[in-house]
């Protein structure tokens, strides 16, 4: 049996479907655990991707990872595989479950297990990959977003609502600051990112326009977030966040190795730069040598025309 824990308090993300599809492919019976007040009809849609049953614990809200870890372990006796997403929740819960159950954790899996049951992960900030072998009987996997395409194979599944109280860790949540922008960067399939080449915070309008035409999230390079042109949570790179969208458009970013470390998992990279020696061109699939202030509005118009004709 494969047990999947999903954090659903903020709605169902595409990566939740990816996790269930992944689980279905590694083990026949898939049971999803979740906490909080997600609507039962919404949870039932996980059945379409292969979940046999969803168990939702209404007594805990999922924000206390220590509590969640205990609850997951309580249900893990018959699980051969325990799956998490390699996201904020998974990074806090999976290691705890690994210690509690003395089960090896494959952190940040990017593919299904190989024939020899090793699982591929990215290492050295995406500059290499490795195949992890788990030495314990139970196996814990945290899956990186965008690693597998969700496959609809069935209809809805039953949702079992339980009220299992678990001791709290004592962490009190005082408030939550919501991020700006609609699409969370780590999950975004399309990302428009800009650097110092934009010359000032006031020039980000052309970036926002392109992003909204594409339905993309926005990101930036480290200097830009350090100067305060853009918020820190948009900073991608070695010391910011690492992303792996389908399309990464880098505008006015030279492509320092620290920046590349955060984006080299992208499927396709487009680079727009005035400097033909910019190292980013070497990592790009498509390059445009030109001034962002001319090229980007033109690209935005081209995207709008394309969308109209779709």
């Amino acid at each position: 049996m494969t047990l999947v824990y999903l954090h659903t308090s903020n709605g169902m993300s595409k990566s939740a479907f990816e996790a269930v599809t992944y689980s279905k492919k590694i083990g026949n019976e898939v049971i999803v655990l979740t906490a909080g007040n997600a609507d039962a009809n919404t949870l039932a849609t996980l059945g379409s991707f292969g979940a046999q049953k969803v168990i939702v614990n209404r007594a805990i809200d999922g924000s206390d990872e220590q509590q969640v870890s205990t609850w997951v372990c309580n249900h893990a006796a018959n699980a051969e595989n325990i799956l998490f997403l390699h996201d904020v929740a998974g990074k806090a819960i999976a290691p705890r479950v690994s210690v509690r159950l003395k089960a090896g954790l494959v952190a940040g899996a990017v593919a299904l297990p190989e024939m020899d049951q090793t699982i591929k992960v990215n290492v050295f900030s995406g500059k290499a990959f490795g195949f992890v072998k788990v030495n314990s009987q139970k196996r814990i996997i945290s899956l990186l977003a965008n690693s597998i395409a969700p496959e609809k194979i069935a209809e809805v599944c039953p949702v079992e609502e339980v009220n299992e109280t678990i001791e709290s860790s004592g962490i009190k949540i005082l408030s939550t600051k919501k991020p700006e922008g609609n699409i969370p960067l780590p999950e975004a399939e399309l990302v428009v990112s800009a650097g110092r080449g934009l010359k000032g915070a006031e020039n980000w309008g052309i970036i926002d326009d392109l992003a909204s035409a594409l339905g993309a999230a926005t990101a930036c390079s480290r200097p830009v977030s350090d100067i305060g042109w853009r918020p820190h949570h948009e900073h991608v790179g070695q010391t910011g966040i690492a992303i792996r969208p389908n399309l990464y458009i880098a505008i006015g970013i030279s492509g320092a190795i620290q920046h590349l470390a955060g984006v080299n998992g992208s499927k396709v990279i487009v680079v727009v730069n005035t400097d033909k020696e910019a190292p980013f061109f070497k990592a790009a699939d498509y390059g445009v040598l030109g001034d962002a202030f001319e090229v980007i509005p033109r690209l935005t118009e081209a995207v709008k025309r394309f969308k109209l004709n779709q």
């Binding site: 954090h7 308090s9 990872e65 870890s69 904020v88 929740a89 806090a92 999976a94 290691p95 705890r96 690994s98 210690v99 003395k102 089960a103 090896g104 954790l105 952190a107 020899d116 090793t118 290492v123 050295f124 900030s125 500059k127 290499a128 990959f129 195949f131 788990v134 030495n135 004592g170 962490i171 009190k172 949540i173 005082l174 939550t176 600051k177 991020p179 399309l190 949570h233 010391t239 910011g240 389908n246 470390a261 080299n264 499927k267 396709v268 487009v270 680079v271 990592a283 790009a284 699939d285 498509y286 390059g287 445009v288 090229v295 033109r298 690209l299 118009e301 081209a302 995207v303 394309f306």
Partner: protein, 246 residues
Amino acid sequence: MKTLVCISKAPDTTSKIAFTNNNTAFDEAGVQYIVNPYDEWYALVRALEIKESVGGEVTIVTVGPNEDDAIMRKALAIGADKAVRIDANPKDAYFVATQIATYAKTIGFDMVLTGKETINYNGSQVAGMIAESLGFPLISLASKLDVEGTTLTLEREAANGVEVVSVNAPIVVSCAKGMAEQRIPNMRGIMAARTKPLEVIPPAACDDLTTFATFGSPLAKSEVKMIDPNNMDELVALLHNEAKVI
């Protein structure tokens, strides 16, 4: 605050990443090691700032062989009070976390800080594993940490934004960007680091739960295709028809 900061070495960002022994081990030839940036810039520097404002002691710990003393001296130069090296080759995250937790239990710390991940294995596992082994709460991916008495107020990354949380020590915190600014060690720090205590202790018995079977390097990117800056319709068409990403 009695604080333990976990330090890992990591290859300098410009290092060539290659593998040896039939692609089963990282090739260390010619590799320059640095203190893992998340451990140094965020965890260690914030621990020192807290010590400077409320008092206490900052101990650094690593799991590694003799050669790692150099990394520990560097972290001492930034301002840690003393260093402990657990004398073993780190096998996997569970092994490292078990060693550090075993040591931490014998001393008793109010806070255990780690970087959010290492830049070599990027697993983000050790902090959670230490927290579980010690039975402490974990604040994962924290970008702010303030201490008042035994109460800590932190900001952490959450699924729906940034959460402001409060919790009582003892805790484990994994530190991300925003925590602190980089500190460059000065000459006085470097001189003082030479005489600060660096204790070497033997490892505890521990199984490794995972093993890297093999490593590999991604295929080189094909040549970049340059597009006429006056013809963005062509770029859009290529992204749709050839790359199939829009």
